[in-house]
Amino acid sequence: MAQIILDMLSERFTAGEIVETGAQHGNEWARVAPPAWLQVAEYLLRAPALLMNMFIDLTCVDRLPREPRFDVVLHLYSIEKKHRVRLLAGLPGTSPSVASVASLWPGANWFEREAFDMYGVVFEGHPDLRRILMYPEFQGYPLRKDYPKEKRQPLVRRLPGSV
């Protein structure tokens, strides 16, 4: 249904920016080389035949023990064309980072904060990258596969008068 997106992507990007494309269960997906993340996202937003103007979801998958360990997963939709695509970018286990797409879709702001909060993925160029669901003193990244479910956190003592 949205094969046109994958075709246009592999036509436009020929220098290895698109690593792999495919479709499963009616979802078309494209694996992007991390340095081209923002470039590919911007093309999807601006190309007149694609117009992926609706931000749907951004999250991360920890595929321990695979390397690259983290996959940043972005879902986009086009209101006009009614098609969807999933973009993935594989990031290394040590200091994973990728460009922020919050400048293209402002809705990505909170979703990137959540991915940072839960997986420790740093989004470069994000306007306000801080924890969103956890508290600032939280140690570690809870949705990583090597974070035990029962792990306890140190007691946080806040100074009187601090917010």
Binding site: N27, I79, G107, W110, F111, Y135
Partner: protein
């Protein structure tokens, strides 16, 4: 005597309403405006949700806002990763806890796509899913409207609408056994058929709910106090809606006619005749009006579904997915083993990834599931609609007054369980 007194006053400056003296009345000369931090929540009587809003105000006017969420984070994703695919249902109940059926259905559809059985679900089960889902949607909108009206002082409306919601929840309790956390849907169908006479009782309740909504409508829609706080407040531009990921009534209030049930029909929604109401200005009143109309549209769907529902099984006949009948389980060793394997190991879902989306109470409710071929999800991600809808408040609130936070926040309808997961 009088002239003497007047001469005493003479050196004082007399107020003359002329151009030269207008500056005397400039408030900024008298009252230096200093910005002040104001923290609303996490426990605030006018906020129906545990959330903190850090405002910077100048007088009554909001300069900046910072929304802080996470107070209801219950580790949904982490818990799902150690539960079997079936054990996730009770967790989904607690996402949007005002309309748990819609979450149940959304999750079941996602897993069924991974299992490639989404085309084989019995038709009666699909109709029942539509029916319980729409009942849930009505309950969801009733709660939002009732609670928001109460926060603006219309307590009677709250009672009218919550009473109607209670009738609907009683019906859902009858069909599922639980008033609030139903866990009624199963992978491959639903757990039980509609009890005898349930359909006619539902039609009765819809009639009574229409009366209650009519009463609420008379009290609110042309009420000056209500309109003054809703009209033109919290405006969201249509151009912003898509980029911010807004869906559901919040997006439709801006004029963006995106409804998953219409644009990408799932289950049997393409067989029903219903309209998608949209707003024109994207203010709070439009969000109120859109929800009000959507309740009536859901009732239309319900009446058509109850009319058309076919007879037949309510659970897929597939030993990989469905539990064997209790009679078999207790009497044959094969069924006993199958039951044991499904309960202990879970349903074995082939490796793969899927993003499946449905129209939840607040908008597009998506499930992004990753399976590694075992009985437990590798990742079970929820795309929470009100997480995206709430984020835009940071843009909407600056420029409004403190009192405007209450209706604006109420009409976004943030549900803590879904937003924080």
């Amino acid at each position: 005597m009088a002239s003497e007194a007047r001469s005493d006053l003479a050196p004082r400056r007399r107020i003359v309403f002329g151009e030269a003296d207008v500056s005397d009345f400039d408030e900024t000369n008298d009252l230096p405006v200093e910005s002040m931090p104001l923290r609303m929540g996490p426990s605030h009587p006018a906020m129906h949700g545990t959330i903190r809003i850090e405002l910077e105000v100048e007088g009554e006017k909001i300069k900046t806002s910072d929304i802080q969420i996470g107070y209801l984070h219950r580790c949904f994703e982490k818990e799902c990763e150690s539960a079997t695919w079936t054990q996730v249902f009770p967790y989904t109940d607690r996402l949007n806890y005002v309309s748990p059926m819609l979450n149940n259905v959304g999750y079941a559809l996602a897993v069924e796509k991974l299992l490639d059985i989404d085309k084989k679900i019995p038709e009666r089960a699909q109709y029942i899913r539509v029916i319980v889902g729409e009942v849930s949607r009505v309950a969801d909108h009733l709660t939002c409207l009732g609670a928001s009206a109460m926060e603006l002082g219309a307590f009677t409306v709250f009672f009218y609408l919550i009473k109607a919601r209670e009738w609907l929840w009683e019906l859902l309790e009858e069909i599922s056994g639980a008033r609030l956390t139903h866990s009624y849907v199963r992978i491959g169908g639903v757990v039980a058929d509609m009890p005898d006479g349930w359909a006619s009782r539902l039609l009765d309740v819809l009639g009574k709910a229409r009366t209650a909504l009519g009463d609420a409508d008379k009290l609110l829609t042309n009420n000056k106090i209500f309109r003054d706080r809703m009209d033109g407040v919290g405006i969201i531009a249509k151009e912003d809606a898509a980029g911010w990921g807004l869906t559901g009534p919040v997006a439709r209030s801006t004029g963006l006619a995106y409804d998953v049930r219409k644009d990408h029909p799932y289950l049997v929604y393409d067989r029903f005749d219903f309209d998608v109401p949209v707003g024109t200005t994207g203010d709070n009143f439009d969000r109120y009006a859109v929800r009000m109309e959507e309740i009536f549209q859901s009732m239309r769907i319900l009446e058509q579904a109850l009319d058309k529902i076919p007879a037949g099984p309510i659970l897929i006949d597939d030993v990989r997915v469905a539990l064997p009948a209790k009679r078999e389980t207790y009497n044959t060793i094969e069924a006993m083993i199958a039951h044991f394997k499904l309960i202990m190991d879970g349903i074995h879902v082939p490796p793969g990834e899927v993003y499946s989306f449905t129209e939840g109470g607040n908008g597009e409710l998506g499930f992004y599931l990753v399976s590694d071929g075992t009985g437990r999800p590798w990742k079970c991600r929820v795309r929470p609609p009100c997480f995206a809808n709430l984020a835009i408040l940071d843009k909407v609130l600056p420029g409004l007054f403190i009192a405007d936070v209450v209706p604006t926040f109420g009409m976004i309808n943030m549900i803590g369980g879904e937003c924080d997961r």
